[in-house]
Symmetry: C2
Subunit: 256 residues, 2 copies
């Protein structure tokens, strides 16, 4: 049997611990090619680079795994991987992560990790974004390995519905073993921002974006509940943003 081709990207940058772990697990499943940002791209959402140029350099950072670092966003990485690096070769799976930090709930919109996966889904490729609910740069990813392998194997075997990418989040390492995997919806929550106002050495004002995550969702079928209860959360995501339920409402209420 031919080994599957697996494209790996992320948003924390090619030298982060999370992508190293992901490459190691994917090497057990197929031929791996990495195209990842050359530096941190967290919070980049689905940004692409259109007003500026892109750099792409091959690197031996993963030893015998073919790898490129790109100056662009995670979405750029998937685009340049598909249209320039791989050309006629089509990945059987695209994985992104493992992100250092949660991408549950509304964070999926701001997530560079998930934008790589969603970009792959737009291109019709099965895609998964993996995130660990631990922001530290030396986070322990070991407890995620068996689950990542199982989820990736399942997607390689069964595929995914057209236009769907998975948003997979893992609880941070704790004493208790992970209880299992839950298929979830995105929880209703938001970031309650605060702006930390400071003054630079020249006396000019600047700000840091800060804030707290606020969960409004009392349901038990969402990703926040799953993580809080030590389950792996798997949310199928799509790129059709249409609020289909609102179309008939507008056609009714508006006089157009």
């Amino acid at each position: 049997m031919k080994k599957p081709l697996i494209l790996v990207s992320n948003d924390d940058g090619i030298s982060s611990k999370g992508i190293r772990t992901l490459v190691e697990v994917m090497k057990e499943l197929g031929e791996v090619i990495v195209v990842a940002p050359d530096g941190p791209q967290s919070g980049m959402g689905h940004a692409i680079t259109i007003g500026n140029t892109l750099r792409l350099e091959e690197t031996d950072i993963f030893g015998d795994v073919t790898a490129y670092e790109c100056s662009g966003t995670p979405a750029d990485c998937v685009k340049i991987a598909k249209h320039f690096v791989l050309r006629d070769r089509r990945p059987d799976l695209v994985v992104s992560g493992i992100n250092h930090g949660s991408n549950t709930s509304i964070s999926v919109l701001y997530s560079g990790t998930m934008s790589a996966a969603i970009e792959a889904a737009i291109e019709g490729m099965p895609a998964i974004g993996f995130s660990l609910c631990d922001y530290s740069s030396d986070a322990d990813f070991n407890h995620t390995r068996e689950h990542i392998k199982k989820i990736a194997e399942t997607v390689l075997k069964k595929g995914l519905a057209k236009g769907v990418a998975l948003n997979v989040n893992f609880p941070a390492k704790q004493k208790e073993k992970i209880k299992g995997i839950k298929i979830c919806r995105q929880a209703r929550a938001k970031w309650q921002e605060e702006f930390d106002q400071r003054y630079d050495p020249r006396g000019r004002r600047y700000f840091w974006l800060a804030g707290n995550f606020v969960n409004f969702d009392k349901g038990e079928d969402n990703d926040e509940w799953s993580i809080a209860n030590n389950y792996v959360s798997v949310v199928p995501c799509q790129f059709d943003l249409t609020a289909h339920h609102a179309i008939s409402l507008l056609n009714d209420e508006w006089e157009i």
Copy 2:
């Protein structure tokens, strides 16, 4: 009656012609406050600034309209407007644009214009992104004025469903008058990328992201069809990316 408070942002930057037109129309409807990027932020998707600082400076660019330029993304502008500039004052409406260029179909994901509107929807504020299907910096926006006024008035009067922001696109100015307004879904389409490979004066390779828009959608109820047929397209958008139809599929097919 108290004048409504209208927050205006965009992604082409505070000095663009599109936002100037939008501010002029909004001044007819209420008290306007502008918080917009200090330079171009096109293609920024739902990016936010978390690894870097933000600047915010007041400007008299719009004469008697209170206005701030911000060094961040469109989503940052809405966040800093709500949490720092306006604080206890809550906008009755948030509008973004008018974008120089189309934000129909899949472009909604990459659009900074729409990320400002969606950020406002996350905060529970009625929000609309306006875009003109003409990329030129001196595009003619005059034919959009009456429609923008009507749509904004309707939203001020009737509100919007919770969590919904409107993605409004206008055909470029042409001889024939716009036929009307259509409530639409997002068309199924994508950008077929090409990477334009060049070499800098030092002989190092770089790329420009280029590409063509490819529409796969044969329906007539979508935004691409409406624009092609000289209608204004109005797509209600949401920030729940869950592919709800895929949850039961995964619960069926996966052995977890």
